[in-house]
Symmetry: C2
Subunit: 307 residues, 2 copies
């Protein structure tokens, strides 16, 4: 099924206890698109870059079957740039630089061929831009997934709430769920957030896994325990890409299938953090993806019927 | 199979954001014994109390099928007392008072009938007392499980390491695993700790669940997402009680059966935190235990074969 992905395509400069990078390609739409490409092939990306964005970066999207007709290239302007440094625990980071550049006056345009796409992934971006994309859809997608972050809760609350009211699945991390709901308990937070509109809620807990809520049902998937987390940048977006990619590929947005989608997303995220940026997720084989999924099965499955 | 449990039997005074208690019955051996009693009936407790310990507290152990021949009652002395106050996040607490009392010169004596027990649970206690119990076993138990804590890492390192070298399963929390191994990554920490002696390692992560390591295998069980954690006191011991109780009942210390034991332990712990102290775990029915286990199955199980 067709999948539309919006979000940033950007440059990142990352420093972790293991090393640092120069400007490398990053951005929410980049990670989501690449990750989803392991599951489904009819993907379109709506985003914006400057003329400093390398041709081989765009060629890499094409190699992954991602259509970039919706990727605006602004001549004479620079791509969005983010720089950050992770602390030793890898769970917290300092932002060293944020240069909006082309993002400052970005007006997303959805190509006509994608205005009736079945699956829509609103990657993290200014809520009013997520809304602009929603408004261009001529047919309501079968499933709309939205990722957002605390920054918009603090700077664009009203816009964000309007988008949240229109989506099927919201994806936030645990601290964001608490901030959004005013509840410390994630179970209570989930009930309040689902009352804002989304029928499904994903709460990402980083190294502690992810929770999927729907009505009074809860599903939990752990993160894979790793010897080293090399660079967590993009892990949440890579997770989202695997999630929506599996759902689009199977054309099944049931709670049962979302459980599998969460496992695929977790498997992709566990690869993402093994190297800097997108390095690990650009050249995976189907076997590697399945091997990782198998590790998740071994990690959590037990047989109570044998007792 | 017969199970020997050692650890404290004590008074606790607890303050949480939900309220506070006077002196109530607590202690590692109390929680372990009560929790294990839902799975196996041949349980002996080795511990010590003062003459201030209420007769109905001991009667309650008997009601749960726990033999107290190894529970010393010291006339003219007072029971061990601990008082603590939990912070709002329930993950951290301040110790307000620790009165060793009878524990100061406790010399554990294992009744002759229990010196050949098949399963031994060394609850958290001074390592040299755990060793004293080990030394009294005439037959090496089929499985020895040891729980310990950071306090002993700081005050009794050498004694603790000698006990660790002699047990099959070590149970610590994530911060303790890091302190014990000097490794931040729990995967690396687990390998180092298993090299110290234990063939199995349980790392408890509180609200984030628990990991079981054995050679290069890892099993993960989440904690049940709860609307409220009312009082976390005793949750780790209750977990350990469910774990060893299930293993003793099934007489099966395989990795596959330990997975189920971890789930039973997690189910018992999820009940423990719903009320103050032992209140919730003294009157559970078999149906309640099975219902909770069913919730864990629903929480983590997914079917990849349908894809």
């Amino acid at each position: 099924m067709s999948l539309l992905v919006i979000g940033t395509v950007a440059f990142d400069a990352i420093e972790t206890p293991f090393g640092k990078t120069d400007k490398i390609i990053g951005g929410a739409a980049t990670y989501i698109g690449l990750s989803a490409s392991y599951f489904t092939k009819n993907i379109n990306m709506v985003s914006v870059v400057g003329d400093d964005f390398p041709a081989d970066g765009i060629a890499n999207f094409h190699k992954h079957g991602i259509n970039t007709d919706g990727l605006q290239v602004k001549q004479g302007e620079k791509s969005f740039f983010w720089s950050g440094k992770y602390h030793n625990d890898m769970n917290t980071r300092d932002t060293l630089a944020t240069e909006l550049n082309v993002l400052a006056d970005f007006d997303p345009v959805v190509p006509a061929a994608y205005q009736d796409c079945e699956y829509l992934m609103l990657g993290n971006l200014m809520p009013k831009l997520q809304m602009r994309v929603l408004d261009q859809m001529t047919t309501r997608p079968k499933l709309i997934v939205m990722d957002t972050m605390n920054f918009w809760m603090e700077t664009a609350w009203d816009d964000m709430m309007k988008v949240i009211a229109r989506v099927d699945v919201l994806s936030v991390n645990d601290e964001e769920a608490r901030q959004l709901s005013g509840e410390y308990s994630l179970v209570k937070a989930a009930q309040k957030i689902m009352a804002m509109g989304p029928k499904f809620l994903i709460i990402k807990k980083g190294e502690h896994g992810a929770l999927l809520f729907h009505k009074d049902q809860i599903f939990f998937a752990p993160a894979l325990p790793l010897e080293d987390v090399f660079d967590p940048t993009g892990a949440g977006d890579t997770f989202a890409g695997g999630f929506i990619g599996h759902i689009a590929a199977t054309n099944d947005a049931s709670f049962e299938n979302m459980k599998r989608a969460i496992i695929y997303g977790s498997a992709m995220a566990s690869y993402c953090v093994e190297k800097f940026g997108t390095e690990r997720i650009i050249g995976l084989t189907a076997e590697e993806v399945e091997d990782r999924v198998k590790q998740f099965v071994d990690l959590v499955q037990f047989d109570m019927t044998l007792v």
